[in-house]
């Protein structure tokens, strides 16, 4: 059902866990539907530009939800905020080699939680 890439990220999720003193948190999902994602960001500065210095996530959900969280953390880590914000829901699913149609909402959640965290960061400033 799942691609090799999804299973690989599901088995060994990257950047998993909580974070002490994050610069921003984004949380999205609904436990009733079976998915909750929480993203923690550490924002650094390089050559005058803000970038994603570190990202951690916590996920309650199926294999697609876990793999999507893991994948987006890899896609955005080290990127400037401007670059990272261009990452879309589809980018996450594509990078995973596609997801079954019923599981696409899981990759949407990962991107949404990340964008929520950025929004919260910008709102704080």
């Amino acid at each position: 059902m799942y691609s090799k890439k999804v299973m690989e990220h599901f088995r060994n999720p990257r950047n998993m866990g909580g974070m002490k003193n994050p610069d921003a948190i984004g949380e999205i999902g609904n436990p009733v539907c079976g998915d909750v994602m929480k993203v923690y960001l550490k924002i650094g500065k390089r050559n005058g530009k803000e970038f994603i210095e570190d990202i951690k996530f916590q996920t309650f959900g199926c294999a697609a939800a876990i793999a999507s969280s893991s994948m987006i953390s890899e896609l955005v880590k080290g990127k400037t905020l401007k670059e990272a914000m261009k990452i879309t829901r589809d980018d996450v699913a594509d990078a995973l080699g596609g997801l079954p149609p019923l599981k696409l909402h899981c990759s949407n959640l990962a991107a949404d939680a990340f964008h929520e965290a950025i929004k919260n960061y910008k709102g704080k400033k």
Partner: protein
């Protein structure tokens, strides 16, 4: 948690003037509940209503006495007792006249058109001969051991009863984690299981059985069903318990829902 057996008082209330048939599952496939068919049958007999029970899960595992249990119609099947797939039987009292669902030839007393699956039927009969009480005792023992050991995991719920439970069924909910992730990790360890989580279905709704016994949707999403067979061993139970413990711990570490 609500009652896990069919409530006799609720059943009585559900029977209306125009009710002609009551059909109740004998052994529940998800949570292993063995329903009180004798009492249900009595109610039906008193009210002069036909009683059908689906005993596919319980057949050969729980004694059934058609007379004493007041059963008018009984469904059973072959593959649940190690017989060939694609064969089942509907046992019914002589005086019940059914309308056929398949039309055509006059096979099976005009009840079901189509050439009989003779090899399947013979296989089903042979499977009935082969299964023994010893198999049931063996599975019951392993099930109890499995339940006791899995329940050592903190924040775990046993779904379904401890007593009056099918000998081959165990079902748990683990707080804060999701069922599909559990079963995929178990699959990688060579253990085939199932879950009532919506993520494993096409409906996006958790198991109706688990929600109707009072589980919250989150706990229903975190459910794991383990079904035993007569050839399972104590070593396999130990391996399964060890694997489940590792997986639950791993998934809880990455959960945002608290422990």
């Amino acid at each position: 948690m609500r009652m896990v057996f069919v409530d006799l008082e609720e059943l009585k209330k559900a029977i209306k003037k125009d009710t002609i048939l009551v059909s109740v599952i004998h052994g529940n496939n998800e949570i292993g509940t063995i329903n009180p068919i004798r009492e249900i049958g009595e109610i039906c007999r008193d009210k002069k209503i036909y009683f059908h029970t689906d005993a596919c899960q319980s057949f050969t595992k729980v004694p059934i006495d058609l007379e004493k249990d007041n059963v008018d119609l009984l469904s059973i099947n072959s593959h649940k007792i190690y017989g060939p797939k694609g064969v089942g039987a509907l046992v019914l009292r002589d005086d019940i006249k059914l309308t056929p669902l398949f039309h055509g030839g006059g096979h099976e007393g005009g009840l079901r058109a189509g050439t009989e699956n003779v090899t399947g039927i013979v296989g089903f009969a042979k499977a009935c001969d082969i299964i023994t009480k010893k198999d049931v005792e063996h599975m019951s023992k392993l099930r109890d051991e499995l339940i006791d050991k899995i329940m050592e995991i903190p924040n775990t719920i046993l779904n379904g009863p401890k007593e009056n439970r099918l000998c081959n069924n165990a079902n748990f909910s683990f707080k804060s984690i999701e069922g599909e992730s559990i079963i995929l990790h178990l699959d990688e360890k060579g253990i085939a299981t199932s879950t009532g989580s919506a993520c494993s279905t096409k409906s996006l709704k958790p198991s109706h059985v688990l929600t109707s016994i009072g589980l919250s949707p989150v706990d229903a999403h975190g459910s794991l069903r383990l079904s035993l067979g007569k050839e399972n061993t104590k070593e396999e139970i130990d391996y399964t318990v060890k694997s489940v413990k590792q997986i639950v711990e791993k998934l809880r570490k990455m959960s945002p829902l608290g422990k």
